[in-house]
């Protein structure tokens, strides 16, 4: 429970910083907390915090992308690059401490971070930082420009978030 309170406070902090809009969702499992989050480009996401497995999962992190498409491959490579020891410690995800997975459930994309050391709030922090970089770094790269304009249905006169 303590873990979950920490996560709740963390979400509140993000909301207070204007990063996203978010609110706790009703949950019927004692060890699972959920939050609704409206983030980049109005994308509605759901954050599930599983205290027992120390796993945080963000649903609908991106609109559906075709398996084995170029963007799918690039995204997986980019996620792996986040584990590189060449990145400064405050930016990298240490694979000995966290497990990062990109999964597809019914066509929807979910990004999961599991803590191997047992800290759900730290896993949440890592996950949310990862999503921030997914939008501001991965999707903002020149190679992705045409893709984001088409897929995120950006207004041609305002091809940028928020």
């Amino acid at each position: 429970m303590i873990e979950q309170q920490l996560v709740g406070a963390l979400i509140d902090d993000y909301v207070a910083r204007g990063v996203f809009r978010g609110t706790a969702l009703p949950s019927n499992r004692a060890t699972l907390e959920s939050y609704g989050i409206v983030w980049f480009r109005g994308q509605v996401m759901r954050l599930d915090v599983d205290a027992r497995r120390v796993r945080v999962c963000l649903q609908d992190v991106l609109p559906p992308i075709a398996p084995r498409s170029r963007i799918d491959r690039d995204l997986r490579n980019w996620l792996r690059s986040r584990e590189s020891p060449d990145l400064p410690a405050h930016r990298s995800i240490d694979p000995l401490q966290f497990k990062t997975e990109l999964r597809r459930a019914g066509g929807r994309l979910q990004l999961t971070v599991t803590s191997r050391s047992g800290a759900a709030d730290e896993a949440t922090r890592k996950l949310l930082r990862l999503v921030n970089e997914l939008y501001l770094d991965f999707l903002a790269a020149p190679e992705r420009y045409d893709w984001i304009v088409a897929t995120l249905d950006l207004d041609p006169d305002q091809p940028r978030w928020p």
Binding site: Y14, G18, R129, D146
Partner: protein, 580 residues
């Protein structure tokens, strides 16, 4: 003395730096010229307004623009709005027929001016009572020289401009600027400074975003002193670049990868506030904002600490009070991120050379990188040439390669408002400031300026080459000629739309320039481009000639499909930022 003369005398005492206009509002512009204000007349009111804005962006000075009542004034609107978005201290003057003719469509050119500038000015007034002409002049300069500047719009009915006064007693509030406005500036509260120092002490990777307020308040020395004392990374924002040099070891302007590592951001004089997510920063970053006006603190970006203060005063206090600190890991990260970015754009340059070789046309990465290379290796020193960049594909590529090393070396015509078109005219205003050696342009007199623009952009101000030549302002204009509005990919799936985005192919902007008395160059290869640029510089330097270099390209360079990487937005804040 006439109303116009009373107003002109006040402008003279306020050291109004320049007036850029087209004829119209005759009584006022003649009075300003007679009072010794440097005046310049050109071909269109819109472009002259942009010239005034460019002059101010390059100097920080208050400038004026003027046009005739209805049509001349209406033509300025796009560029008044651009000046407003960039917070330029621009004095917009226009005549406004006679009060006696109001609401009667008397003769021609009747217009309600003030509602037309609604939302794009700080203050505006149609003068009615001739006795108050000095009072409203004072009102204008109080707004232009205090707090956050923006355009001020005064319109002069003939009854005011042509009123005759026999003695000063006939004028209301006829007293000097030392009485009608104050040079006093807000100092930060001691407790706020303590809190800021504590936040900086806790931060491992602090970042200052120095906005145009720092430029306008000439706070660049204090900025550098503060940054260097405690290893704080710096990026500037706003329509003017270079007041923190891109080649400084603490510059993060060309290190977008490091931006996401900063854990504390200090916005100083950031007039156009982004929202979280618009800047490439960590979501948990702490934020301090220093701004001269309390009402704006907390707008768009939630703050951990808001400080009301003059920008330069805050930076001076910060530089004095900050304890010396070394942040070696942060500095090393900045160095690495800068070299990673350089490697990335070097790679794009190579692609551009390949695309150029294959097509026999000039790729935007080649034009912009080679222009900067010309500046970087120039015997006059890389600080000498002032530049400006606009246009869509070409402007965004230029943002990656162009650098600024001294205050106001680079101007961003599209900043915040995103207008296509004012670039050439704005850079003529910059050239005027450089030739006169005004403010930070002092010491660079005689140096030609370089404007990188597009075929769409050139259409708006090409005629002003006549003006540049008339006044001997040596300008070099590089036109990226891709036969199109660069947003044509939005029509690529609809054959019925495409024609709206296209021009005739291979138009000869260089020949149009020649016809206007400038030099024209037509180039299609990197080697020819470099040679043309060198010739243009020499002709500008030696003969005060202006040159237009027509760089023939193809529209397909905009799309990454056939010619990767294609156009994309640059990271903000940073060297290629245009929004905030």
């Amino acid at each position: 003395m006439t109303g116009a003369e009373a107003f002109a005398n006040l402008c003279s005492k306020e050291d109004l730096a320049a007036l850029f206009c087209c004829p119209g509002n005759y009584t006022v512009i003649n009075a300003l010229a007679a009072a010794g204000i440097p005046t310049y007349g050109g071909r269109t009111e819109g472009a002259m307004c942009a010239m005034a804005d460019g002059f101010s962006r390059a100097t920080g000075e208050v400038v004026a623009t003027s046009g005739t009542e209805g049509p001349g004034f209406a033509h300025m609107i796009m560029n008044i709005a651009a000046a407003n978005a960039a917070r330029t201290p621009l004095l917009v003057l226009a005549s406004n027929m006679t009060l006696a003719g109001d609401d009667r469509e008397a003769f021609i050119q009747q217009a309600y001016q003030q509602p037309t500038t609604e939302g794009i000015k700080k203050y505006g007034k149609r003068m009615i009572d001739p006795a108050r002409v000095h009072e409203y002049g004072a009102y204008a300069f109080r707004c232009l020289k205090s707090g956050v500047p923006q355009p001020v719009h005064l319109d002069f009915p003939a009854e005011v401009a042509r009123a005759r006064f026999k003695s000063p007693t006939e004028l209301r509030d006829f007293y000097d600027k030392s009485k009608y406005r104050s040079e006093s500036r807000a100092s930060p509260a001691a407790k706020d400074v303590d809190t800021a120092l504590a936040l900086i002490a806790k931060s491992q990777r602090p970042l200052i975003v120095a906005g145009q307020g720092v430029f306008q308040r000439k706070g660049w020395d204090a900025l550098r002193r503060a940054a260097e004392k405690a290893d704080i990374a710096v990026v500037t924002s706003g329509p003017t670049r270079g007041f923190f040099p891109d080649d400084h070891r603490l510059s993060i302007a060309t290190a977008p990868n490091a931006l996401l590592s900063a854990d504390l951001v200090i916005f100083v004089g950031q007039y156009c506030m982004p929202s979280p997510g618009e800047y490439r920063l960590d979501p948990q970053i702490k934020a301090i904002r220093v701004h001269p006006v309390q009402e704006d603190l907390g707008r768009n970006w939630p703050l951990d600490l808001g400080i009301v203060s003059d920008e330069a005063l805050f930076l001076e206090i910060l530089a004095d009070r900050l304890p010396k600190a070394k942040r070696d890991a942060w500095v090393a990260e900045l160095t690495k991120a800068r070299s990673d970015y350089q490697a990335q754009i070097d790679e794009i340059y190579k692609l551009g050379l390949d695309h150029s070789a294959k097509t026999g046309m000039l790729h935007p990465a080649v034009i912009t990188r080679d222009t900067q290379n010309f500046i970087d290796t120039h015997p006059d020193g890389r600080q000498s040439i002032a530049t400006g960049l606009g246009g869509w594909t070409i402007g965004l590529f230029a943002g990656r390669y162009m650098r600024a090393y001294r205050p106001a070396q680079e101007i961003l015509p599209p900043y915040q408002y995103g207008a296509i078109g004012p670039d050439m005219a704005m850079m003529m205003g910059v050239s005027c400031a450089v030739q006169r050696g005004v403010g930070p342009q002092k010491g660079y007199e005689g140096t030609p300026t370089i404007c990188i623009t597009s075929d769409a952009g050139a259409a708006y101000s090409l005629m002003e080459l006549d003006t540049a030549i008339k006044y001997s302002w040596p300008t070099i204009t590089i036109v990226y000629n891709n036969n199109a509005w660069g947003v044509w990919p939005h029509a690529s799936r609809s054959a019925r739309s495409m024609h709206m985005y296209l021009f005739q192919e291979h138009l000869r902007y260089d020949q149009m320039a020649t016809a206007l008395g400038a030099r024209g160059e037509y180039v299609r290869t990197p080697a020819d481009f470099r040679a043309a640029l060198a010739r243009a510089y020499k002709a500008g330097r030696d003969d005060k000639a202006s040159t237009l270099i027509n760089c023939q390209a193809i529209k397909e360079f905009t799309s990454g499909k056939d010619y990767p990487p294609g156009v994309s937005l640059n990271a903000e804040p940073g060297a290629g930022a245009i929004a905030h």
